[in-house]
């Protein structure tokens, strides 16, 4: 119970503090890959839902890129109407179990909630997660029952999605619920994009959550074709020739950036994508039962400060590292990761090596990583954007021993489809250019959204983009509003 929580708002009513979400204890969870946050109980959810003021003009909704009717679902939940709450959320969000877990709520819905002024916004994400999980746990027939409200799928109205991340899944959910036949083509052997190969199991359980959401789409007659690579196995022209009426490109921005410093190709230096893909998609945490190996690091260093860096660091801890350091150029205040992830990482023992930047990796005669030279940084004058950018402290470098380095400094657009489709107009940075309102690319009836348009962003922004494009596709295929 913090001091702010005790303060009285303008109305004179006391605001109860946010209900905490129970977690696996840090000492235990670093030894397993099970989910860290355990979710609310019914009692906790009801108590938290009752904190919502049911604002006439709910600010929270404006903070949500897919406009979940937040006030309404929380109202239903407070009254014990779980089914109603689920339907309300699902009316605009096809992946509530995912969003409740991974949205950066502090910058989105919860950041906009009126109670945030007192530092105690309604825990919208946790409630959304509670509703999704509890509803999902119900009998499968209930899910099927929800279909009766959807029109029958018209096999002639066919739309193809390339890539199966949250952007494409949203398009598939929106269109299939409106009677349009969607086929999703995915290059990898599993469906879900970053949700399956990037974000770790302990933050987003694959079979319990992602697969269930995908399964729900299957019951809406969405087809998923895996191992099918746009630009290699098929082209966009092939799709139109086969009778697809529109195409949505959601191939993400997964090409890893490296730092461009000496020693970067030593064995033991990985991109975060490789490290996380081996562990998540390849289930390397269960090696050798599963065949994909991963490097065992003792002294691990991770470069970057976003969610990806947090995920890599916490994964390394769980795989048995003795020490894990996150090396970041700025200070703790500028770390772009979700607050909850940063807190969880620190609780688990991840060390923050702040104001430091790698300048060279060193190896032994076999080409294996043994250490890194770091440059001490300081924050300089604010630049045009108002951010204080880091500048090196002249002559101040130091060494750290490290045998596993994970580079998480961002990504670039996935290249294959773009190279194979030269007609597609790209931005200066190499991402696909779209009409902001419709999501349409320079090729008629070809739409795009998510990281391949914006560069690496968030699940919910990718979903927002998917929703925009899907609305336009529906309008073109079926007319009206």
């Amino acid at each position: 119970m913090t001091a702010t929580a005790e303060r009285k708002p303008a109305g004179g009513r006391k605001i109860a503090p946010r209900v905490d979400m129970p977690c696996q204890p840090a000492g235990e969870r670093i030894r397993n890959f099970e989910e860290v946050a355990l979710g609310y109980t019914q009692q906790m959810a009801t108590e938290e839902a009752r904190r919502c003021l049911q604002c006439k003009n709910p600010k929270c909704v404006k903070g949500c890129p897919v406009e979940v009717p937040i006030r309404d679902f929380i109202g239903q939940l407070a009254k014990g109407d779980l089914e109603g709450a689920y339907r309300t959320i699902k009316s605009t969000n096809s992946l509530p179990g995912v969003c409740g877990r991974v949205c950066p709520q502090e910058n989105q819905c919860e950041g906009a909630c009126v109670l945030n002024a007192k530092g105690q916004p309604v825990a919208i994400g946790r409630l959304e997660r509670y509703v999704a999980d509890t509803y999902m746990a119900l009998d499968a027939c209930d899910h099927l029952a929800a279909r009766l409200t959807c029109p029958a799928v018209d096999p002639e109205l066919r739309v193809a999605c390339i890539g199966s991340g949250p952007a494409s899944l949203t398009v598939a959910g929106y269109l299939s619920a409106r009677g349009i036949k969607v086929t999703v083509f995915e290059a990898l052997h599993e469906v879900g994009g970053v949700l399956v190969y990037g974000i770790p199991e302990f933050r987003l359980p694959k079979s319990a959550i992602v697969e269930k959401e995908v399964q729900a789409l299957r019951t809406q007659e969405v087809d998923f074709v895996t191992n099918w690579v746009g630009g290699r196995t098929f082209s966009i022209d092939d799709l139109f020739a086969e009778g697809y009426r529109a195409v949505f490109i959601g191939v993400g921005a997964g090409l890893p950036r490296f730092l461009g410093v000496p020693g970067e190709n030593l064995t033991g230096v990985f991109s975060a994508n490789e490290y996380l893909t081996r562990v998540n998609l390849g289930r390397a945490y269960a090696f050798p039962d599963y065949d994909t190996p991963v490097y065992q690091g003792r002294n691990v260093t991770v470069y970057g400060g976003g969610n990806v860096a947090m995920d890599a660091a916490r994964t390394a801890l769980r795989l048995g590292a003795e020490s894990v350091r996150i090396v970041y150029r700025r200070t703790r205040d500028e770390l772009p990761a979700r607050h909850e992830e940063l807190e969880h990482a620190e609780e688990e023992g991840v060390i923050l090596e702040l104001l430091a930047n790698p300048v060279a990796f060193h190896g032994d005669e076999m080409g294996r990583l043994t250490g890194v030279t770091l440059q001490r940084m300081q924050l300089g004058e604010p630049d045009a954007s108002g951010r204080r950018s880091p500048v090196p402290v002249e002559g101040d470098t130091y060494e750290l021993p490290t045998d596993l380095a994970v580079i998480a400094v961002g990504t670039r657009p996935n290249p294959i489809l773009l190279e194979a489709t030269p007609q597609l107009k790209l931005s200066r940075r190499g991402y696909i250019e779209v009409n902001e309102e419709t999501g349409e690319t320079s090729i008629p009836n070809v739409f795009a959204g998510g990281d391949i348009v914006t560069g690496a962003a968030t699940v919910i922004l990718a979903m927002g983009a998917g929703r925009r494009a899907a609305k336009e596709i529906r309008r073109r295929l079926k007319g009206g509003e």
């Binding site: 690579v229 890893p256 991109s271």
Partner: protein
Amino acid sequence: MPCKILEKERLIPGQTSKLVIDAPHIAKKAQPGNFVILRVCEKGERIPLTIADADPERGTITIVYLVMGKSTALLETLDAGDSILDLCGPLGKPTHIEKAGTVICVGGGTGIAAMHHIAKGHHKAGNHVVAVIGARSKDLLLFYDELSSFCPEVLVSTDDGSFGHKGLVTDLLRQRLETDKTVSEVVAVGPVPMMAAVAKTTEPFGVKTTVSLNSIMVDGIGMCGACRVSVGGETRFACVDGPEFDGHKVDFNELRQRLAAFKPQEKASYDHHCKCTCAGEK
């Protein structure tokens, strides 16, 4: 979508086999130089294998593999009629093929099979293809008949002299380059030391040399950087920028070291496999 194995031929029993796989969608698009990534079973690793041949009419592709460790050993347990769980392709940039005169295609070990598809492409483009292939001994030599069926010349070397020249493929290559000034390109596919030696052999002659790199891969679509190689001092991704590169610019030493990255784990995995080769798990 699982893909069915139509034919299996044990080229060198227990070591190397050839599979003809039903995969019309890949066969339709496959070009010389392309590869596939496959996963044998649910718990399996994604491994890259070159498309050694493709028949778009029949809808099949051919792969030839050497049993190296767990994944290829698992693949070896499959027979005609069985299916491969995941098969993804065609991946990689196709070989750059143009009518250029004489092209020498060098293959070593299992690389001969992969080289065969490239040689065929050069032959179809109207080039005079000289195949130079090597193995430790006569019974380990692959694809001699297939290559002979369209290459006007097939030169062979074996380590023990049981067939053709006794020695290395690079001996044959050097002899040829010394006497034949019409050679416009040399292509080499095989073990890393062989490709490095080929590049070194051709360098003084200034002949364009293309090598097909087999770095470790995970996704094969440019998303992980596992396959990165240094070419002319720049980092390139073998799966999307290659797998073929200018042999005179490749840092073979780095490639060799990176290929050894998972040695202890690969051994553990293989031992685990041998200990519990339960058919039920495949």
